[in-house]
Symmetry: C2
Subunit: 403 residues, 2 copies
């Protein structure tokens, strides 16, 4: 029908959704056809999933209907799962159909990475998407609901074991420190019967923050009954719990969650792409090395930070900034203009510790902690909504609860 | 210290709690010491448990702190479980102590009765108290939460199988007809994937109502997607579901609930009492046959209806009316006055079919159905609160949701 180029965006996470919205603004309908492929008809705020998993927010608050933020008359929306990318044939195989493309943007997000720890995949929950996260909160509540009604219930069935003390693990135990007392009250269980245990192999929690903030976070969590075990490597996950440390101690829990690592979507490997630590190495302009028309962004992308001589850590902030560059570079490609290289503008990092505490680095090195950090975290979360869907979305899904 | 008689009331259900409150009003502190023994520090509305089990009300709405409705300065409150009644020694053995009595009121309520159906006790949930009922609602929700996240999930894990089409069974499926669409929406599951199946051996549901009302109820439930299988005897309950009918069809479900029968507390048997269908046969004045000082009321009591030549069906209404007579008879015993016989004043029966439909017989034979019956059911429920705790309790726990 037309000769206009077809841009296919895979994934409606922070990276893919932002790219799509930028493309709609940047390109006229005559310049390109845009197709957005996503497994579900909704986007979710993946940085809020720890709250869904703890049960401190409703799963629906963390998701946004794609058709509410992308005009279906401008973008063809395909709700299907990606099976394989055949880049030599410029085709994408979906579960229920196939798509050809002229330009491809791969933003397929992350999967849990258990680094091959024995039994982890089988026995631990992972925080990957809405489905997996709300199952965790329901599983936890179910342990509480069963406890008083089961003569043989063991106390450790109430325990919640979280592997990994990175961003997700620590933010999760922070939420659990709020949630567990509520569950205890609801199900007539003494708070002292429930252990929240965080296990981390590294010598510190939250390696992206400095010692002072880390010490603050650790104390805040411990004061609220979270046990933090650092320098404790997990050698195995059994149906009962983690086997930890040199003396192979078994820490038992009714709920076991692994947050210790992520990798790029498994579609990358299935498509035969060359991978660096499970991700695709990209050039400065965010194209897959050696490819003219394939961009890879977000958690699937291995982007080198030349200044720090290491890759950028995967965050929502990074993904959305990459999306801006990819949209601009797609326009440049179509118009035969030179491409620009990605430069990250770090606006800071804030970690919540439950709903009324947190730590953060903002404005290039300014440290915050306590309630002001918790407030700032909500500002950050609402800003992500603003970028994705404008003020209407902030009003609909924003975080305005009292703190 | 004193020679005043000691009245011990076992159980703070409708029967025991009402007896206690009547005694406080009827007797002066000098006339008798009153002790109320209950497993928990709360009373629960056992006629609301199907709503707790379906998850359509918060468990806390269905319970009342005993100290909120009984003055602890007038009544000694003992929160403990009854192990055995030694009536020849006028003693009650509790899990953590013992009590002697001059007069005893046994109001220990009901337990599920599976009539010996193979596997039922092991594999089906029963609606017996707050703990067991909220576990059911959590179990149901957990099946929904797991479904989309489990590659191997089978559709029948979403099914809810309810054995028994008496009051509890039918009121439960009525609530489930409201709850299931909400859960489907919350967990992104197509409503058509979920079956609510009610299985009853008798040729009709709700045997206490006439054909016209039964037909109305059946149609109302079926219109909302409840499958009702009458004349379908359950020969076995397996972990997967019910084995039903002559052809031994296995109906599979992720949630299996038995509501097909109740019997009096197992303490009665453990205490060596002579039982008729699991209950204690009482005289007209509600004393255990042959006993001077032991009253048995509520679901533990087998009370003959001479007019109808059959026992009264156990209801909250019956229990509370019995309590009035027991309190009066205790006062008469203490004062050496003649005892009076119990006469039941039937105020009618209303069954809910979810929150906006129902059927009922009120004012001796006047039939109601539809929204007016649903409204009347809430009036009945609020009246029970009024009798137990006065207007304050109605305001606190009453049912005023829109319908």
């Amino acid at each position: 029908m037309s000769n206009k180029p077809k841009i296919v965006v895979l994934g409606a996470g922070y990276a893919g959704l932002t790219t799509t919205r930028r493309l709609v603004k940047t390109l006229s309908p005559e310049q390109a056809e845009i197709v957005l492929v996503n497994k579900h008809n909704y986007h979710y705020e993946s940085t809020w999933l720890h709250e869904v998993a703890a049960g401190t927010i409703n799963p629906n608050q963390a998701r946004v209907m794609i058709s509410d933020v992308v005009n279906p008359n401008r973008v063809r929306l395909v709700y299907d799962s990606v099976v394989e990318i055949k880049k030599d044939e410029q085709r994408v195989v979906l579960e229920n159909s196939e798509l050809s493309y002229d330009y491809l943007v791969v933003g397929l997000g992350f999967e849990s990475n258990d680094f091959g720890i024995k039994g982890m995949a089988e026995n631990a929950f992972a925080i990957e998407d809405i489905d997996s996260s709300r199952e965790i909160s329901e599983h936890i509540e179910y342990q509480f609901a069963k406890y008083n009604n089961d003569q043989n219930a063991e106390d450790h069935s109430l325990n919640i074991l979280v592997g990994g003390a990175g961003f997700t693990g620590i933010e999760l135990v922070g939420e659990l420190a709020n949630k567990v007392p509520e569950l205890c009250k609801k199900y007539d269980i003494d708070r002292s019967k429930v252990r929240i245990i965080n296990v981390e192999a590294a010598p510190s929690i939250l390696p992206m923050f400095d010692k002072e903030l880390v010490a603050y976070a650790k104390k805040s969590l411990e004061d609220r009954g979270v046990e933090i075990k650092i320098g404790a490597a997990i050698s195995e996950c059994t149906p009962e719990g983690f086997v930890v440390g040199d003396d192979k101690e078994l820490i038992k829990a009714g709920t076991i969650i692994w947050t210790g690592g992520v990798k790029g979507s498994s579609v990358l490997g299935k498509s035969g792409f060359e991978l660096t630590k499970g991700k695709v190495n990209v050039d400065g302009d965010l194209r897959m090395k050696g490819e003219e028309n394939v961009f890879v962004i977000g958690d699937c992308s291995w982007v080198w930070n030349k200044e720090a001589d290491r890759p950028y850590p995967p965050t929502a902030q990074l993904a959305m900034q990459e999306a801006d560059v990819v949209a601009a570079n797609l326009k440049a490609l179509i118009s035969n203009q030179p491409l620009t290289d990605f430069v990250f503008n770090d606006k800071g990092t804030v970690a919540s510790l439950g709903h009324s505490d947190g730590i953060g680095n903002i404005f290039s090195g300014y440290k915050i902690q306590g309630k002001s950090a918790a407030t700032m975290k909500k500002v950050v979360d609402n800003r992500s909504l603003l970028l994705l869907g404008g003020p209407k979305l902030v009003l609909k899904k924003g975080k305005f609860r009292p703190f």
